[in-house]
Homo-oligomer: 329 residues x 2
Amino acid sequence: MANIQEVAKKAGVSVATVSRVLNHHPSVTPKTRVKVENAIRELNYEPSMLGRNLRNSESRLLLVLIPSISNPFYTEIINGIQTTAIKHRYNILLCETNSDPRRENIFFNMVRNKLADGIISMDPTINKQKLTELAEHHSVILCSEYMEDGSIPYVTIDNERAAYQAVKHLIILGKKKVALINSDERFLYARQRRRGYEKALTEFGIPITDAFIYNTNELNFHDGVQAMRMLLRTGEKPTAVFAVSDTLAIGALKEINASGLKAPEDIAVAGFDNISFSNMSNPTLTTIAQPMYKMGATAATMLINQIQSKQVESIVLEHELIIRESTMG
Amino acid sequence: MANIQEVAKKAGVSVATVSRVLNHHPSVTPKTRVKVENAIRELNYEPSMLGRNLRNSESRLLLVLIPSISNPFYTEIINGIQTTAIKHRYNILLCETNSDPRRENIFFNMVRNKLADGIISMDPTINKQKLTELAEHHSVILCSEYMEDGSIPYVTIDNERAAYQAVKHLIILGKKKVALINSDERFLYARQRRRGYEKALTEFGIPITDAFIYNTNELNFHDGVQAMRMLLRTGEKPTAVFAVSDTLAIGALKEINASGLKAPEDIAVAGFDNISFSNMSNPTLTTIAQPMYKMGATAATMLINQIQSKQVESIVLEHELIIRESTMG
DNA sequence: TTGAAAGCGCTAACAT
DNA sequence: ATGTTAGCGCTTTCAA
């Protein structure tokens, strides 16, 4: 692999001139430019990012932290991030943490070591303290899951209000016994969505029953099946279910079906996220749509601004209740 | 961010000694080692990968190229890659190309520039020629989709035989009119699976009808719906469908349902990949299971061996036909 | 055992 | 307009 020296020699110029051509510096004669360009082509030369980055202390690489690639929720967000990043000549690298702290550390260090210019974290399981430390000297944006102290800029939606609206929708349909399939409440979004659920029940004078609340370990289909199975075993069966993710909701639908019950007649079901599969399930799923692409695009814009030392403000985006067959069969 | 100089000064030693401590070089007195370690801790020092990589020409980073994160097929493969990489002190970065050649180029250059040590490509849309060029001087492994000339080591399954088995399964059920929903046949796997389909038909003396073969642009749910819609418009409706991906098959199921038909009674459906959703559809989907985790793990092992200049051989792994409700209701 | 110094590939300040 | 050169942070050879 040729380096800048060899190109300079071949073109009969100095390395500085080669560098200028590389960086489109205006002060280069067309004639020398051509000479250099020819040499570059002949030698198949590609500038080393390593040398360049070391010198410039910038890599134009952004890290995107996700707990798991298998969660379809992230797909559109990443799309938004990527498109925005490219528009600003940045590239993104996806980092799957699998909620493993060691892996987290590696990615944090990539930023410390200037191998990447900043991080967008969508990982609710992330070590908040370490991230805050990193954010003191480096560019960090939170997307979707955030920290209430506001120490790190974020883009998110109003989880509490969204959950409230979904549950209210179920209640208005005449369903009084609304169950909640929630995830681990050590996550902020889970606590917020629970608050929304409770607020809706309270508003309609419906008591909050522990037997109607089930917390899953993860957000997989199978957790939804399991949760629904447990809820159906309670003395009084629920007539509606609000699940905090579509994958859970689809699992719940499956179990309802397997028990010989019908959605929405026997049990209405609402999910959260509006993943593409929520339109493929049978029945199709009522859910809360988050503006995923926009969330991603916003997060990327914020991060790039932060890297360029501009002031950034946290943003709460609008969501939307999408009514489909699982509640309005 | 402190650098090695400051650590050296603080510890009252030379940078060389600090470097030796960092790299666990045996020839350092325990006493000096402690001095240096203290300085490192006090300054919160983290060695710069940039400097280190520039010097060592290695990054211990592996790139994984996928066309799109939204395809669940890749999930388990990536899991296998990641677990294996970590075991060998490598880290992986996911690179979504979106089939955009410019993005491809950026990732290729990351390898050329030593920002990454090698690439595992799972992208069927990749520029074969550029990849071959890259592979001449760098470590590259193909996973799933590969090149028949064998110029780049690969790990894959026998697509033709797998498709043959799936279609044979449909025929044995008594379905004579078997349609094929294939993707773009510029991809090797698509051509191979078509060959398997044709081989099964031929073996049972069933003529191959163009009207029963539909090629989609992409592998999304919606393409499956569209494909099925077209197939249902043919004069003679098919009684079975083999789709080359589960997402397509689930789309086909949806359309069958929407037309008031029943799977498998009216039309049996088989997919390919055994993605997690294939067990969540209604009816659950008969499909070909690829050993995804093993494929990923194998690809990672091969890549790491190649980086270490060991000899690597291409591997064809075993698949399995999983029979579920969509063919055996 | 430790230190001095060269050099990995590049950019930019300064000089011409 | 172009060249010379220092230096980004690190590792490693050579010398002490």
